[in-house]
């Protein structure tokens, strides 16, 4: 299986440590994007109530 680094695959889905690290990074970025959106958003285009 394609993998970018390391010699020792984990047993789950034949993934290596770096494969899992990449997946974990993507999950963290997605969650951060949801709970802590871009800080400058709304300076232009925000509807004022």
């Amino acid at each position: 299986m394609f993998s970018l680094l390391t010699t020792h695959p984990f047993d789950i889905f034949d993934l290596t440590g770096s494969d899992l690290a990449i997946v974990l990074l993507m999950v963290i970025v997605f969650v951060l994007a949801l709970v802590l959106p871009h800080p400058s958003h709304g300076h232009i285009g925000r509807k004022r109530s």
Binding site: L4, L5, G17, A21, L25, V29, L34, S40, H41, G42
Partner: protein, 207 residues
């Protein structure tokens, strides 16, 4: 022998596929310190993908819609991850003297990548299309005037800055990353400092 044959033979000799995507590496690579480079690369890929979506739909979309805000936020957090892991990668390679064994050029491409990344991030700040980017451009123009480069790099010129950010600089980064990875694969991963007595070049040829 024509030039395409020579190029093909050179590529096959210099970049064999089993070295580009190896499924076995030395045992010392099984350490978290070797993850930082590949995590920087993964962050870069997320930046490119989210950036392409942002470019397609434009500033009005990312400033007013919920989905646009989400993709903009992914781009933002990917940048944080990109620089976070790049600096960790830099420290890790610095403290293990990763330029040993004829890897000096790879260290140099890494330094250039770092500098180009800073320029890419800066033009990204200027491309946000909000008051922040206007403020940064107005404050930063004096620095670039002082450097004497504003004649050809005018950060108040949005078209120029945006073009650099979404086309020129990403292409330069991608090219440099390609060279960087090729050099890693061609020389092999650097050995730990304590193991360098066994002359790392031979160690890699024995893999």
């Amino acid at each position: 022998m024509n030039w395409t044959t020579r190029v093909r033979q050179w590529l096959l000799r210099e970049i064999p596929m089993e070295d580009l995507l190896p499924d076995e590496l030395p045992a010392y690579v099984h350490s978290y310190v070797y993850y930082f480079g590949v995590l920087t690369l993964a962050s870069f890929l997320m930046l490119v993908l989210s950036g392409i979506i942002l470019v397609i739909f434009g500033p009005q979309w990312w400033h007013v819609s919920a989905v646009g805000l989400f993709v903009n936020s992914i781009h933002f957090w990917s940048v944080q991850a990109f620089f976070f892991f790049m600096v960790l990668h830099l420290w890790a390679q610095f403290f293990m003297s990763a330029w040993r064994g004829g890897r000096g050029l790879n260290w140099v491409t890494g330094v250039v990548l770092f500098l180009v990344s800073i320029l890419t991030a800066f033009t990204g700040y200027l491309s946000q299309q909000n008051f922040d980017s206007q403020w940064i451009a107005l404050q930063g123009k004096d620095a670039f005037n002082a450097l004497g480069v504003s004649g050809f790099f005018n950060i108040l010129n949005f078209g120029q800055v945006y073009g650099l950010h979404i086309v020129v600089l990403p292409l330069v980064l991608a090219l440099l990353i390609g060279v960087h990875l090729y050099l890693v694969r061609s020389k092999g991963v650097v050995t730990p400092v304590l193991d360098s007595a066994s002359t790392d070049r031979e160690a890699h040829h024995d893999e």
